[in-house]
Symmetry: C2
Subunit: 233 residues, 2 copies
């Protein structure tokens, strides 16, 4: 049985040497079969890592939210045949906030070795720079879109900050950042602290922690910028 390698990718246009260990590209050069979220961006990334690779000799299986669950097992046939395989996500770490987890679960089920490689996780990078509790934290994905549900979710997270001293992390789609930030500032206690992290690892990186009260007077422009929000008190 082959080994399933999990390859993180850059978060936008940062140089490889800024965010990925050299070993990742060395390992990638030995792999012919990849499971990817989008084959066009995956080819571009592999060509960036391995400029002399013959892309047409590689096999790509596309795994996204439209992939029927029962096809996932067929993707791993090369692994069963003894070939190493690679999983690539669109940005950051495979299987974190990303569909890759299903294929990893299947690889674990059939007893394959799974090797996660180091790369940029916007969640961990934002948390490191927030100054908040890193001994206990939760990543909650997206806040609900509808305001009553969003407020309900924020109240729940507030409770976990107060009772469990658990740092609460969310992401948002770039076009909803402004609305979500406004909703957080309106609905969270003024003395709580919010870390806003945008464009992580890019030249425009912005990671700032302040109180809800202070943010209200100083709202940053997050338009079209991938952002992470972290709440604590």
């Amino acid at each position: 049985m082959g080994t399933l390698y999990l390859f993180p990718t850059t978060l936008g246009e940062s140089p490889l040497s800024a965010v990925l260990p050299e070993m990742n590209t060395q390992l990638m050069s030995g792999i012919q079969h990849f499971i990817v979220e989008d084959s066009r961006t995956a080819r571009r990334f592999i060509r960036k890592c391995l400029p002399t690779v013959v892309i047409d000799e590689l096999t790509f299986f596309v795994l996204n939210k439209h992939t029927p669950p029962d096809t996932i097992s067929t993707f791993l046939q090369p692994l069963k045949d003894g070939h190493d395989m690679g999983v690539l996500s669109e940005a950051g770490c495979p299987a974190i906030a990303d569909p890759g987890a299903d294929v990893v679960a299947y690889a674990q089920q059939i007893g394959s070795r799974v090797v996660p490689l180091v790369g940029p996780s916007s969640i961990i990078l934002a948390l490191m720079a927030s100054g908040f509790n890193g001994q206990s934290f939760a990543f909650n994905g997206y806040l609900p879109v509808q305001l009553p549900d969003k407020i309900k979710a924020l109240k729940k997270y507030e409770g976990r900050i107060v009772h469990d001293q658990q740092t609460q992390i969310f992401i948002e789609t770039p076009y909803r950042n402004a609305k979500t930030l406004a909703d957080i500032l309106t609905n969270c206690p003024p003395d709580f602290r919010l870390c806003i992290a945008a464009d992580i690892t890019l030249s425009t990186e912005y990671i700032v922690t302040d109180t809800i009260k202070s943010w209200k007077n100083n709202i940053p422009d997050l338009n079209k910028r991938p952002a992470i929000f972290i709440l604590y008190r």
Copy 2:
């Protein structure tokens, strides 16, 4: 004002090129003032990154659980004087399951730029390879030591798996691994899945997911191995 760089370190004796981007050492070579958990291991790590550096010309401030909170602000004097500074943890990412968060919080408070660098986070690596839900997860640090409290904590996490579909992550000190694993296997539902991740990024790396029921018949030897436990169903 200088910039506070957060430098991850290797998790044990893995080569730098396996887990750290090249840029980290380039940035390190421009820094003279470091905040570290233990100055002996920090010196050794810096020498590994920068073989020609004159270690005696560097300044080290030691931040651990014995450091009085009011000294932390004095550590950042070089930053206030315009020098870049570095934070290094003992293993992995500063400020994640580590005292570095306090100094980062103070740097954020005084308006300094904080730049987190990429490196190995055993939490994220284990989660990637577990096959569990990476859209919603919590890191809970250590389980309580006393059995009644430990069982109570496990029941609470079980509830969050069932009601929130939230993956639950813990760590344990190596000498308590066997006891904690036995307690998890006795007290969690047999159909729940447990991922055991040990020696992450090392040549003896072991990351395996199975049901509680199956683990009971096949207990791995975790003696003296740094381990992460991840629970889901």
